[in-house]
């Protein structure tokens, strides 16, 4: 493996949930320790199975791993770090201020940014405190901070206000006044990240077009702020010899090879490693030792799945949706789970029943609009370009608020406007104009704001609502959040794939929505191999791994659900979208 050659002190693995970061990070740490180094493995995976892998309870303190000489491990729970931070700010006023006021403050501190920066706060000690990590040759992290977090910490303006003087300032860092380390320490941490003799970043991806596009973005963003020592690791590739007589495996193989051949140039230029899909479960030390090297011969293959249970398909969900005659259907979930395709499939199926449907998408590829526009009488398709909407919003803010700021203040505001919340808000503003149509027809959307954003938007809207009420007594005022909370008007569908981390992320999303008083209507498990007809042992292995996740969704998480099979061909065009729904009219 190239990425383990002359490994520097710090190794960071980054990539979206479900690509196998934690497995690869664990395997790398074991490999380095086996080669005689002293290694500390740091996991921030919310679904961390590091302890399980090594058969011990790790938790938030450094623990030696007895089974591997030279290896220690530490688990950081970012959610717990964020909670501890919230408690520090809110704790002292609980019981002193009215409950709903305290709840409002907590919501302000419940965004993704808070979690992210709180986790980074925990990292800094490991990157800078020589004493804490003195004995280790390598420190392996199974996640990396985002460009947004690092840039914020690099900006001198971020420090001039709240963090140093304790005064409020216009920044996403503002709510993080409780960060308990000194500026010098954060600076040292950021410097360590940007030092290529000390830090290597390994971008972990699957061989999928959309994933590779996303990874290219991460690469550019982190390279710009100095993390130039980057390697690419393509995980879980289907080996050619497996495809011979399984048409589905063949189709996946070809799709993967096409994605690799067409990967963005910036990625193609990086040193690259590939890890094949393994015929065994990534559990236990023996399996980890075989992930990066060797073939796993002698490891027992996982049990072949018995015939999977029959699960409801998309057709059943659409049938129930159609009965209402109109309404707002929102697909929610992490990027890459197929929200756009699912939204299109639902819209097409509704339209084919003769119901008027407006499908609106933020799909950057825009192929939906091209393939579907005008194809069905009842179907209209529109598209919102997230980049364009965000840029317009950004420019508008800078022109108004930014006009009177000095250079430092303006730089800080610009960075705030690069936060993930900004894009979400900008896109949602664009969508909320279309939402109103849902009283007359179906509106199907492939994106939606998180519960956190909705709560913030609603809180800000409270003042305007009050004004409207006073000006015209009796007028009915409906905020987007009120509409989303009303289950007769809105159905929220959570999309995921049947793998551990994505299911956990979806469950967190559901939790977040419930905080905003929104109850998801159903879950959709997309790209399921167990719902397809795979014959190759590798795919059947993956199918059997899916079953436990599907059972968890069906029994624990979802009020109703559907399992959608992975198709041989990309579901593009009316006919294949119909195939995805699985209805037979």
């Amino acid at each position: 493996m190239n990425f383990l050659q002359q490994a520097p002190r710090f190794l960071f693995f980054t990539g979206k949930g479900g690509v196998g970061k934690t497995s690869v990070a664990c395997a790398s740490a074991v490999h380095l320790a086996d080669s005689g180094s002293k290694v500390l493995l740091v996991s921030t995976d919310p679904a961390s199975n590091v302890g399980q892998v090594f058969g011990l309870d790790i938790g938030n303190r450094i623990a030696a791993v007895p089974a591997v000489s030279g290896l220690s491990a530490l688990e950081i729970d970012p959610q717990a770090a964020a909670q501890a931070y919230r408690d520090r700010i809110v704790g002292p006023v609980k019981g002193l201020l009215p409950d709903n006021v305290v709840k409002g403050i907590e919501e302000q501190l419940s965004g993704a940014c808070t979690t992210e920066i709180a986790a980074f706060d925990q990292f800094t000690g490991l990157l800078t405190d020589a004493e804490l990590v003195a004995g280790y040759d390598h420190i392996v992290f199974d996640t990396a901070p985002t460009g947004h977090t690092i840039r914020l910490l690099q900006l001198p303006g971020a420090w001039s206000g709240f963090l140093e003087a304790g005064k409020g300032d216009a920044s996403c860092l503002g709510p993080l006044a409780g960060l308990d380390k000194q500026r010098a320490q954060y600076k040292a941490a950021v410097d360590a990240l940007a030092d290529s003799t000390r830090t290597r970043l390994i971008l972990v991806a699957r061989a999928q077009q959309s994933t590779l596009r996303e990874v290219a973005r991460t690469h550019r963003e982190l390279a710009e702020i100095g993390l130039r020592n980057q390697y690419l690791l393509i995980n879980a590739i289907l080996p050619a010899e497996q495809v011979a007589d399984d048409p589905l495996a063949m189709a996946i193989h070809q799709r993967e090879q096409t994605a690799l051949a067409n990967m963005p140039d910036v990625l193609a230029a990086l040193p690259r490693d590939t890890v094949m899909l393994r015929p065994f479960n990534m559990v236990g030390l023996a399996a980890l030792r075989h992930l990066l090297t060797g073939d796993g011969a002698g490891l027992a293959p996982a049990a072949q799945p018995c015939r999977p249970d029959a699960h409801p398909g998309l057709a059943e969900l659409v049938e129930e949706i159609a009965q209402a005659g109109h309404g707002l259907i929102m697909l929610m979930g992490k990027g890459g789970v197929g929200k756009t395709t699912l939204a299109a499939a639902i819209a097409v199926d509704l339209a084919r029943r003769g119901l008027p449907v407006h499908l609106t998408t933020s799909d950057p590829a825009a192929h939906l609009q091209e393939t579907l526009a005008g194809a069905l009488e009842q179907l209209t398709v529109s598209r919102i370009d997230p980049a364009e909407a965000t840029e317009r919003y950004r420019q508008q803010v800078l022109a108004t608020k930014g006009a009177r700021l000095d250079a430092q203040g303006r730089a800080l505001l610009e960075e705030d406007l690069r936060s993930p919340c900004t894009e979400e808000i900008a896109v949602f503003q664009a969508f909320s104009r279309i939402i109103r149509e849902a009283g007359r027809q179906f509106v199907v959307m492939d994106t939606a704001p998180t519960g956190h954003t909705l709560l913030l938007l609603d809180a800000t809207g409270a003042y305007h609502r009050e004004v409207a009420r006073q000006m015209q007594p009796g007028i009915h005022y409906l905020t987007p959040m009120m509409q989303l909370q009303d289950s007769r008007q809105t159905k929220v569908l959570i999309a995921t794939v049947a793998e551990t981390t994505p299911v956990l992320e979806a469950a967190n999303l559901q939790q977040d929505l419930r905080r905003a008083g929104i109850e998801p209507w159903a879950w959709i498990i997309n790209n399921s191999i167990s719902a397809a007809h795979a014959t190759s042992p590798l795919l059947r292995q993956r199918a059997s791994n899916e079953l436990v996740e599907i059972a968890a969704v069906a029994k624990r998480h979802a009020p109703r659900y559907a399992v959608v099979p992975l198709l041989q061909d990309e579901p593009v065009g009316i006919a294949r979208l119909q195939q995805l729904v699985g209805s037979d009219h």
Binding site: V90, G168, S171
Partner: protein, 118 residues
Amino acid sequence: MSSIQIFDPSLCCSSGVCGVDVDQQLVDVAAEIAWAQQSGAAIERFNLAQQPLAFAENPVVKAFLERSGAEGLPLVLVDGEIALTGRYPNRNELARWAALDTATDKPEAACCSGSRCC
């Protein structure tokens, strides 16, 4: 000199970037406060999301929150007494409380205060 304290509602960031729209009120009041401070007024601002203890420890503010809730904010205290609620002060109000002379300080701006004028 009177002391002016402004208690803001909880904002993710005081720029309002996280809000549904950048609030022009916030932009304007920031400029007015900067003007008044430069002219010598003693003004403090507190953000509910960031300094909740400042709200809880002030009996007047605490009682206000109990009565009107966070929706009633902003709240302005002058020498500890409620001077304004539900909206931000304009330049004339700030000047009156701080006993500043708007006319002599900035003669050309006397007819129209701040950015909303004319």
